[in-house]
Symmetry: C2
Subunit: 557 residues, 2 copies
């Protein structure tokens, strides 16, 4: 949240900002809101949000409040450290503003944003924080929140995503979650879940904290478990440095240091297509469908580049193409090329590049699972749904595999094969911490064993059907009609009902902090965001900063 | 769903029905929609919904479609079997209508109901189905769904709550979840969760099934795992009987047969109070608060009657008093009386009455956890928050315990004590399958051990604070102000944000099918119910049966 300023009239109060195309490629040299300084074994990521550089409107990003543009840079910086700075073992997140750490998501931005933008903004920021926690757990990259001033809402949620929270003890700086009390919404970036499930704050104290707009300072914050350490202002810098080095010393990051540059992606966009080096998307606005094709290649960085391209495409579709409700996933190329790339990710002791590439695939596949669009995999002759790319089919809501050849092609492509590898058995868990195979065969252990037993076998459509790895296997005669009807049918359903149904079906079995964040907290927030109490003309989000109190509809559900 | 009938014009299409006070006490002799026939070891519960006896409007309940009134009778029947018919070991659920099992929730009812009613209707029906599953797991009471005809939506969800689904194989009768395809909403009674997590239907087949309005029949339903058994029409009755007796034979229900009559509750309602034998509620409409007081007593059935009264009160408040957002829970009386009742529930080999009374308390406490109202426990001198009643304080979002005496009372009541017993350590798990103490101290094992170590000790406010069992312990000087300010503050917050926040904080740690149903599926449904695509004038719920197709806003979130 940022301070109220009556002199700054934001267009957001008058209606949603004009649609702008959001892009997701960034480079530290062009960051507008963050400074990344690497001094091994530390990297310091300093938040210095430019108030005049809002990404989707004319609101002012005061007091390190943020919008999607700020978070896209943060996500980029974390990936840079993971790939380009393997010598780093601890990332310090701090603020360049005296007395302010971060004011959280910008309220005028939220008040003016469309429902779809709000939900996707929260989803993206959540994914970035989960990537921080993954980097900590799996890459040995610890995160230290160095809170040198007021830290509220999303600012405190960012801190909670770190391994250690150091708060300046200056009798003024507080951590707070003022969303419920002041804005009539929930902390949308995992705040409530991390309070109880990560930081183990007792639920009644969590209730007190999350309804106290002014937050909690110093010793009380430490006693409640909201922060891990305090330092006086005069000792703050030294304490940050000492703690960061201590965290770095506990890192298990491998010592070899071969940086991998994240080169700019090649990307061509037209009205109806988006083309990358290995990923193409064709947009059918009438049918509200996107056809995505991934091409196998022998290029050494194929797996890394493809993951980055797919990630960029998913973000683009989420934010810029909300009406395209169905993704059709296809692959083309020689399965042997994919198997070769796949093997480097799981065999032997991985290099930093291999480990980070595998973790990036894990994250991108998770982004796919959490994308609120129908996903159908289309497994045709000439395709390469093997290993890493088979995981795309397992992420789909349905998969169609052609049984045989396209008979009327002059030189028919080879029949589709489906092959599982070690990649499908562990390194790419979903948010529920199960593999996609475990999730698929939840409660059917024999089917799971049979499918896992097929690792390394090139499966025909008939075999894949028998193992339950694909949903349907029509032959050439029925193929076009079956796909077309399924896609048309989907386009006729309520997008809301589909979003809710898919979010339920995709995650069988146990839950984790991540599924709670996405499936429970986000679902509630989704509801709250659309209620007049938050987003109506007299709602708390819209009235925030005007001096007028919202009049709530007081019915409880 | 019921069949379309253009000749029946329902008032529900023109707006919400006039507010009616719903009551929750029923007796089999007065059932309007079910027939309960007991022939030990079986009970047969036959659905024969009276189309003209809708509970909240003028819609017609055709084809065994149901509304809250139908489900209240179902819930009553299950409790009757549990308490009044201990000789029963299997309940057969069947239909009196030739060719129709159950058409699910009535669509015109849903189209006309308020958002709050829709959400609470779904919550109540879910609780009833979970009670069936509890009776099966813990009371040895198996449930058999004898599906003799079309079984759609909530009808199939009712079947999925049973232990065994027997479907007539007549080439016509299908099971189906047509909500997504026809109504733009989700199956709201656990359908999606039970498909994958209970029946282990593969997620892509679940996707196909839950988008196929016409459903699945016979052998295909059996192959997909949607039903457990098929029987031809001529053999259906014999198959039901054989299967019911086989299920009864596996029951572990104890053989002693002492029925416990569920006598009518004594209940007096005025504009500002509801009084039962042991439970009183005072309604403060200005402050939007309900003060609930439970009185200890030596009456032998005190625990059973109190649970029934509290349950009735919670249902009353949910449906009839949506604006009263905060519950203040108080107890009065001699703690020794509560301890005596408490001991009978957990000590030694329980009788059927003791076991069922404990299970009823478990269910009522779960109903409290899932009630979308703020819950504060107020622990004052003269109170008896011990054992069973201490569980109420542990269910609260916050608990306030007075430290000392009310000094200015002429004959001050004894200082409040708080005491844990064996009842707090296991028999009353929450929906997340943790005790409220485990949930409270999630991730803080030492605190949990310390609290559990205090079993049997009468704790002062200071001691309860030190153990983290209460939130705050003001003294007499601060008491009134602190309670008043907390209550007033709560009344000023957005009810939506509070509902979302409390639903998150109450369930730390792992998730179960039940928490997924309530926290994930219901949260999505909550959102979908309020979106114009479902509930707007052109939404699918409102247009269902008119012949006009809804025009959806196609934006995906």
């Amino acid at each position: 949240m940022h301070a109220n300023d009556q002199t700054s009239v934001s267009r957001a109060q008058d209606g949603p900002p004009a649609a702008r195309i959001l892009t997701f490629q960034r480079h530290p040299a062009q960051y507008k809101h963050w400074q990344l300084v690497v001094e091994a074994p530390l990297a310091t990521l300093t938040m210095a949000v430019d108030p005049l550089e809002g990404a989707i409107g004319t609101y002012e990003l005061k007091l390190n409040s943020y919008d999607i543009g700020v978070d896209i840079e943060l996500a980029d910086a974390i990936r840079r450290v993971r790939f380009e700075h393997p010598e780093v073992r601890c990332v310090v997140i701090s603020s360049a503003i005296e007395g302010t750490f971060c004011a959280g998501a910008n309220i005028r931005m939220l008040a003016g944003a469309s429902h779809s933008h709000k939900v996707n903004f929260c989803k993206f920021t959540n994914e970035t924080r989960l990537e921080m926690e993954e980097a900590s757990a799996q890459s040995g990259l610890a995160f230290l929140a160095a809170i040198n001033g007021a830290c509220s809402g999303g600012g405190y949620e960012l801190a909670m995503a770190c391994d250690h929270i150091l708060l300046v003890d200056d009798r003024a700086s507080a951590v707070s979650l003022p969303e419920v009390a002041l804005l009539g919404v929930l902390p949308g970036t995992g705040g409530l879940t991390r309070l109880t499930d990560k930081r183990h704050v007792r639920r009644d104290l969590a209730d007190v904290f999350a309804t106290r707009a002014e937050g909690v300072r110093g010793a009380e914050a430490l006693a409640m478990g909201l922060v891990d350490e305090l330092a006086r202002p005069s000792e703050f810098a030294a304490a940050v440095s000492r703690r960061a080095l201590a965290l770095a010393a506990t890192s298990h990051r491998t010592s070899e240091i071969e940086p991998v540059e994240l080169a700019p992606l090649s990307r061509a966009v037209s009205g109806s297509s988006i083309s990358y080096e290995f990923v193409d998307a064709t947009l059918d606005r009438t049918g509200r469908t996107v056809s995505v094709t991934i091409r196998a290649d022998s290029q050494p960085q194929w797996a890394l580049t493809t993951a980055r391209e797919l990630d960029d495409l998913l973000c683009h579709l989420r934010f810029n193409e909300p009406e395209l409700g169905t993704l059709l996933l296809r692959t083309v190329g020689d399965p042997a090329l994919v198997l070769a790339a796949d093997a480097t990710l799981t065999e032997g002791a991985p290099t930093n590049e291999q480990r980070e590439t595998a973790l990036l695939w894990k994250r991108v596949l998770s982004r796919l699972d959490l994308t609120a669009r129908t996903i159908f995999a289309v497994v045709e002759p000439g395709s390469c749904f093997v290993g890493l790319l088979a995981e795309l089919a397992l992420a789909a809501d349905r998969s169609y595999m052609l049984d045989g050849l396209f008979e009327d092609h002059e030189e028919p492509l080879p029949p589709a094969t489906f092959m599982l590898t070690a990649t499908n058995l562990g390194p790419m868990p979903m948010a529920n911490n199960l593999t996609r195979l475990q999730s698929r065969f939840w409660g059917r252990d024999e089917d799971l064993v049979a499918a896992e037993g097929a690792v390394g076998k090139a499966l025909s459509a008939e075999q894949a059907m028998a193992l339950g790895l694909v949903t349907a296997a029509p032959d050439d005669l029925d193929w076009d009609d079956e796909i077309r009807l399924a896609v048309e049918e989907r386009a006729g359903f309520s997008p809301d009902a589909l979003t809710g149904m898919e979010a339920n079906h995709r995650f069988a079995g146990p839950e984790t902090m991540a599924t709670k964040i996405f499936a429970r907290l986000s679902a509630w927030q989704n509801w709250i965001f659309i209620r007049p109490n938050a987003s109506g003309p007299e709602g708390a989000l819209r009235l925030y900063g005007t001096g007028t109190r919202p009049e709530y509809n007081t019915e409880r559900t």
